[in-house]
Amino acid sequence: MEETFGNYSVIGKAMPRVDARAKVTGEAKYAADIELPGMLWGQIKRSPYAHARILNIDTSKAEELPGVKAVTTGKDFNGFKWGWSGPTRDEEPFATTKVRYQYEGVAAVAAISEDIAEEACDLIEVEYEPLPGVFDPFEAMKEGAPLVHDNRPGNICVEYHWTFGDVDKAFAESHLVREDIFQTPRMAKGYLETPAVVAYWPGPDRLVFQGAKGSPYFPYRILARCFNLPLSNVRVIQPFIGSDFGGTKNDMTHCDFAAPMLAKKTGRPVKLVYTQFDTLTTDLRRHPMWITIKTGVTKDGILKATYVKAIADGGAYTRMSPLTMFLTGTCMTLPYELPNFKFDAYNYFTNNPSSAAMRGHGLYHSRFAADVQLDMMAEELGLDPVEIRLRNAIENPEPGKVYETINGVHMATCGVKECIEKVAEATNWEEKRKTKKVEGHKSYGIGFSAATYNGGTKLSAHNACAAIVRVCEDGSINYLTGASDVGQGSDTVCCAIAAEVLGVGLEDIDIKRVDTAFTPVDPGSYGSRVTVLAGQAAMNAAEDAKRQLVEVAAQQFSVTPEEVEIKNRQVFVKSNPQRNMPWERLVRIACYETPGKVIIGRGYSTQGITILGLADLSKGVGDIGTNYSFTAQAAEVEVDVETGVVKCTDNSVIAHDCGFPLNPPAVETQVQGGSYHQGVSAALYEEFKMDQGQTLNPNLIDYMRPRAYEAPMTKVLHVVTNDPYGPFGAKEASEGSCCSAPPALINAIYDATGVWIKDLPAQPEKVFWALKAQKEKKQRKK
C-alpha cells in the first residue's frame, strides 16, 4: 500500500500525473517536434574565439546561397540589450563589437533546409581581432587583467559584504576554529531536450513563439521589449518541456532571438534546434565556486560563528549571478542555529560561458562546504556526525510562532530534527557507522548531511502566481495558469489542489500548456516556487469558484452558504447530508437558472511571511523563500581504493520535510532525482573540463551524466510539518536533496578512506592521488 497523508479526498495520496499518458505514449509535443507549413530552418553562426573584437561581418556569400531566405546579425537589433534585471542588461542578442566566450553567436541564417542553413553559416565571414582573455576568477581579479566588459573595472560582476553579530569575538570565544577551502565544479544542467524554438508572425505586429522555455513569461516580456510590441501581441505557447533546472530555459538563448527575427524577415515560420554540442558549449552552467569557510564551535560542538568567503566564476555575462551570490550566503544560517555570521562574496566576469541558476541554486555551494566542515569538526571534538547535527538543528517552531535567523530569515516550520532522527533510525546509523566494512580492494563508508532550500522564491518586481478555474456547464473544469510544469509535476498538484477544494475528482480538471494569450501572467518555473505559489493560486481560485457555486446551492437548499459542503462530487447540507444533489446538477442550475452565471474563479498567490518584506540582496537580509524545506540524508559509498572509483550504494536514505506531500510519489521522484542527477553526480561524476575558455568534453560521452546501473535506490521518508504559508502545508521538494547529497557523499568517502575530497567532483583520479598521498604520509610517519 502507498503511504497516504492527511484526511483528504484527492491530495496526500498517490495520483498519476495529468500529463503522464501523453508522455508515455509519445503524444506529448516538445518544441523540436513542432512543424508548421512553410517552415524554414535556422542556424547560428558562432565565434571560435573566447575573447575577440569583431572587426567586420560579411554575410553576402551566405545570402547568395540558393535556399537561404534571410541572414541576421546583432545590428538588426538596434542596440537592444537584455539581462536578468534592469540594472544587469549587459548582453546583446548577438555580439556586435566583441565576443566574450567561445561559440557566442554572431549571426544566424534561415534556409529551406537544415543542411543549407549550416552551409550558409560557414559562408559568413567574420573578421576577428583575438584578445587575451581571463579564464578563472583568480586571473580575472589580477591587476591589469584583460577586461571582459570594458566598463566593468576589475572584472567584478557581483560583490556582497554582510556581517551579522560579531564573528571575531565569537571565534575568540570558540573552543575550536577551523578554516577550509572547498570547491564546486562547473556543471551542465543536464537536460536531454536541447533549446529549441519555432517562431512566426501571424500579422506584422504579432509574434507567436513556441520555445523550450521553462519560464514562458521571460521571453514574453523580453521579446515584447526587443521587438517593440505590446505584451498583448506576444503569444508564447509553451510546448512540453524536457526539464530545465534553471538558467537557459528560463531566460534567453541566441535561438530565442534568432527565430523571431528571421521569421520577421522572411514572413515564414522559423525553427531552430540546438545540438547537444551547442548546449554543452554555450548553455548556462552552474557557477564554479571557491568557498573559504571558517567556523567556530564550543567544546560541545555548538556553532558559534561562521565566516564565508565565496569566489565565483560568473562567466561572460551577469545573468543571474547577483541572485546566485545572495543564495550562497543567505541560507548559511539554516538548518542549524548560527548566532554570528559574516559573508564576503565576489563574482567575477571571465571569458567562459555564463554561469547561472541551477537546481539547488547558491545554497548548494555553501551548504556543501558547511556540512562537510561540520563533520571535520565533529571528528576533532569526538562527536558523532548525527549528534553534532542534532545539537545544532533548529527546532520546529511552536504552532503560530516564527523562528528568525540572525540575517532575518523566517520560518514557521522546520522539520530538520525529525529528518535527522528518521534517517539515523532508518539507516541504523550508530551500528552502521561503527562497523567498518572492507571487502578486498573495496572500502565502504557512510556519511550524513542535512540541508535546506527555499520554496516559493520571492523576488522583487512581479512575483505573483495566478490561476483561473473555469467551471463548464457540464461540471467539467478548465484550469488555467501561467505557472509551468517542466517535469516537476506542478500541473498535477495544482489540478489536485483545485479538485480538493471544489470537491471533485482530479479527472474532472483539464489543464493545458501555458499560452500567454489566455493564461494569467506568471514569473516562471524557478526557485522551487511553483507548487508553493501557483498552488496557493490554485487554492484561492478554486475557493472563489466554490464560493459562487455554494451561494447557488444555499439558495436551492434554503440554508446559509456556510452550511453547504461539496465532497466527492456531491453537494450537501452539512447538518443533513440527506439533502444533497450531484455536482453536475449544481453547476447546471448555477449556469442556467435565471439570470444564469458564468462560474470563473480567480486566485493569486500571497507573500508568505512578510516580517521584513522582500529580501535585500546587497544587505543579505530578509526572506527569499515563502517557506523552507529541510532534508537529512545518509549515503553509503563503495570506494575502490586501488582505482579511486566511488559508487553510491543502495544504502541511501533521505528524509525530506516538504511541509505536506501533495502527491507523495512525485515528491519522492523529485527528491531522488535532485539527489542523484545534480547531487551525487556533482559529488562523483560531472565537471566541464576547460582549457582557455574551450570546453574539452562537449558531448554526453565525455561529459559524464549519471546512469541507471549506478543509481542508488534511494529511500525517501516523508516528514510532514504542514507549513501555514504553503498550500495545504506544502513546501518545496528536490532542491533540498540536491544540496544534501554532495556533503553526504564526501563525508561517506572520508568514512570509507580517511581522505577528505574538498573539491568536487570526487572523480577517480582525484580520489586515487589523495589516497596515494595519504598512504605515503602514513609510511613516512612510520
Partner: protein
Amino acid sequence: MKGELKELKLTVNGKPCELKVKANTLLVELLRNELKLTGTKVGCLDSACGACTVNIDGKAVRSCSVLALQANGRKVTTIEGVADGDKLHPIQEAMVEYGAIECGFCTPGMVMSAKALLEENPSPTREEVREAIQGNLCADEGYVKYIEAIEIAAEKMRGGQ
C-alpha cells in the same frame, strides 16, 4: 548516384512502408521528419543518451545510430506503436501509475528499452533491469521509479498481481 533517392521498404509499427530516402538519412530522421513519428526523441545524436531508442526486430537500438536504409526489410517499433489503441502497454501503465515519469523526454526511449528487455527476458533481475536502461539517460527522476515500474510491469506481464 550521390544525392539520389534510394528505395526503402520496412514495417513501422506493424504497417508496411515504402518510401524513398537520401542515403545519408538516419533512421531517427526518417521516423521524425518523414513519418512524423515525433515520439522518438533526439537528445544528443551522438549515441550517448538513448532518447531515440526504438525496437528493430524486437531489439532496443538507437535510431540515431542506424542509417534509415539499414532498416530495409526490418520491423521497426516506435513509442507510437506500443499501446494497443487506447490501452496502454503494461510497461506504460506501470510507469504512469507508479509515478516514474517527470519531464517525459527520456520516457519513449525508456519504454522501448524496457519493452525489448521484457520480451526477451520476462523475469529480469534488478541488475538486468538496470543494465537494460543503462543506455537511457534521464535528467531528472533518479531512475529509481523507472526501475521499480519495469519490475512491476514484468510481474504483471507474467500474470502476477
